[in-house]
């Protein structure tokens, strides 16, 4: 969904409201941001040191080199605050910190956010065992499981956020692309840190590029589901969002469909975008690109994202 920012005089409190150019929806001002996410949103390893570095996160960071969404909001919205809920290791589907659990924590925040950013899914793929069948994606969560887990989080946000808040759900990066980036970065990644640390073995231990692509294709399916559900909630076509919370995503289609470098899920991460710690997570430059893309495709962006990848 392409949203264009138009600042108009606020009705109250001297703040600004934002307008969706397509539907003339007036969104609530971005007074507070929360997020659901995993280690990418925690800035894991972004500066080349193992561990979380939230100051370098695309969503919650404070470092000027990243120019995170929080930094951008803080620069334009007086009194902006944030209360992140992302947790390293979180899946969208499984575990104790999944999307639904993080959404519940967002809903339990004393002051409800009007912007919620979601980036989950990499661990859903990386935590699954390798397949012994002809289908390398056989052990990944089914599309049905993915959809139901996604809805479990979206239902809660639709019910608890102030009307005209916006939930932005970013597409899942293709781990086969991250494999290639790490492979190109150094031999140490492939032969050292990946097997030693057990980094995303479902793909990093897979020598056949066609089988890695099968895993990537399942991620495309997950991203298609994100887009379908975002549309269904945004329009309330499913009856699950009667209060009018906004839902947007960056996903418009897969690389195979001609949408390369149009979303997080289709961006071809290169060796220059990932850290040298685990050779799998975005470095500062990778975080900056995600932030730029998310902003461009969010409610305050103008939709122009091409320069984000320069």
């Amino acid at each position: 969904m392409r949203l264009v920012r138009r600042a108009i005089p606020a009705i109250a409190m001297g703040s600004f409201l934002f307008v969706n150019s397509a539907t003339a929806t007036v969104w609530a001002p971005p007074s507070k941001q929360a997020n659901a996410g995993d280690s990418i949103s925690q800035g894991f390893g972004a500066n080349g040191w193992p561990g979380d570095h939230p100051d370098l996160s695309w969503v919650q960071g404070t470092d000027a080199r990243v120019n995170s969404l929080a930094s951008r909001h803080a620069a334009t919205q007086p009194g902006f605050t944030q209360e992140p809920e992302s947790v390293s290791g979180a899946e969208l589907v499984g575990g104790n910190d999944n999307f639904a659990a993080q959404a519940a924590r967002i809903c339990a925040q004393d002051k409800k956010p009007t912007r919620v950013r979601v980036l989950l899914g990499g661990n859903d793929v990386c935590n699954r065992p390798r397949s012994n069948s002809a289908d390398a994606a056989a052990n990944l969560y089914s599309v049905t499981t993915w959809r139901n887990a996604l809805r479990a989080g979206m239902d809660q946000l639709a019910a608890c956020l102030p009307p005209k808040s916006v939930v932005q759900i970013l597409s899942v990066p293709r781990v086969d692309g991250l494999y290639q980036a790490g492979h190109d970065k150094s031999l140490w990644c492939h032969w050292g840190v990946w097997p030693l640390a057990g980094v995303c073995r479902v793909v990093t231990a897979e020598s056949d590029p066609a089988r890695r692509a099968q895993i990537g294709a399942r991620i495309d399916q997950y991203n298609d589901v994100i887009a379908e559900e975002v549309h269904a909630y945004a329009t309330n076509a499913n009856g699950r969002n009667p209060r009018g919370v906004g839902f947007v995503t960056d996903w418009v289609g897969s690389i195979a469909e001609g949408y390369e470098n149009t979303s997080v899920g289709t961006y071809r991460f290169g060796a220059e975008d990932i850290n040298g710690v685990d050779c799998f997570h975005p470095n500062i430059d990778g975080q900056r690109k995600i932030a730029c893309l998310a902003w461009a495709k969010g409610p305050e962006g103008n939709g122009a994202y091409a320069s984000c990848f320069d």
Partner: protein, 265 residues
């Protein structure tokens, strides 16, 4: 999603039994169970209210027999079936089930117990069947149903609180199988770590959510060494208020806090 979208079998009987047991729970018993706190006084508002169970409800007693049924309690909360995973054919199919009270979600396999009063009887392509003493419950993906989970008081060693925090029941930790995982020493990210091999089922480490392949990096800030696993065992069982353990799982650091759980039971 409506609760109780049960399709066949004795589900109505099951729910009636659940409600009957719940209403039969005394105020005093509820107060005792709901007064559980951890060492720092935390108690989540949505802790389930426990109710007593009958011997007939218990499909598989702890230690193979029921010496004292009062050691078992049941909690009820809505669970949702996210989906059914058939996998690659070399591993058993799994049902991905979320406890909607906490949204803690895990995979259950055919034959596996859900607590001690319910067993995953069958996982088909379209539905999962739970066996209980009162009859079968059938769920299809997306269904939500209130499940009555029966547990022995020593069954849960580490209750997840989210964000890598666990409430540790020291008494249950002491009762878990006392066998350490195998490990190998590795150097990674500039420091020594212990890479866990097999983590025996039912062992203290398994019950505290350690898995094969986890890298143990430090305990309360002290870097891993040959004594670290024994130190973790001590830390989880000696009653200290809390212990912080850093592990790497899939290369990602998880800074875990286990906070001792005290109870008035």
């Amino acid at each position: 999603m409506s609760i109780g979208e049960l399709r066949i079998g004795w589900s109505a009987v099951l729910l009636a039994g659940c409600m009957s047991a719940l209403t039969g729970c005394s105020v005093e018993e509820r107060a005792q169970t709901s007064s559980q706190t951890n060492a720092v006084g935390e108690r989540t508002a949505d802790d389930p209210i426990a109710s007593p169970v009958t011997p007939e409800e218990i499909l598989e007693p702890r230690d193979g027999r029921i010496d004292d049924v009062s050691q078992y309690v049941a909690t009820e909360s809505p669970h949702r079936l996210f989906g059914i995973e058939l996998g690659d054919g070399t591993s058993p199919p799994a049902a991905i089930i979320a406890d909607t009270r906490t949204w803690s979600t895990r995979a259950y396999h055919e034959g596996e117990l859900v607590g001690r009063g319910m067993r995953v009887a069958r996982i088909g392509e379209q539905a999962v069947t739970f066996e209980t003493a009162q009859g079968d419950v059938v769920l299809t993906p997306g269904d939500t149903v209130k499940l009555r989970i029966v547990r022995h008081k020593l069954d849960v060693v580490a209750r997840p609180l989210g964000k890598n925090r666990f409430a540790l029941d020291t008494e249950a930790a002491r009762a878990a199988r006392d066998v350490l995982p195998s490990y190998e020493r590795v150097e990674l990210f500039g420091g020594p770590m212990l890479k866990l091999g097999e983590v025996p089922v039912g062992s203290l480490f398994a019950e505290a959510d350690f898995r094969e392949g986890d890298l143990v990096a430090s305990v309360d800030g002290a870097p891993a060494n040959e004594d670290t696993l024994a130190e973790i065992r001590r830390a989880l069982t000696d009653g200290r208020p809390s212990v912080n353990i850093r592990i790497y799982r899939g290369g990602i650091p998880l800074d875990r806090t286990y906070t001792a759980y005290t109870t008035t039971r």
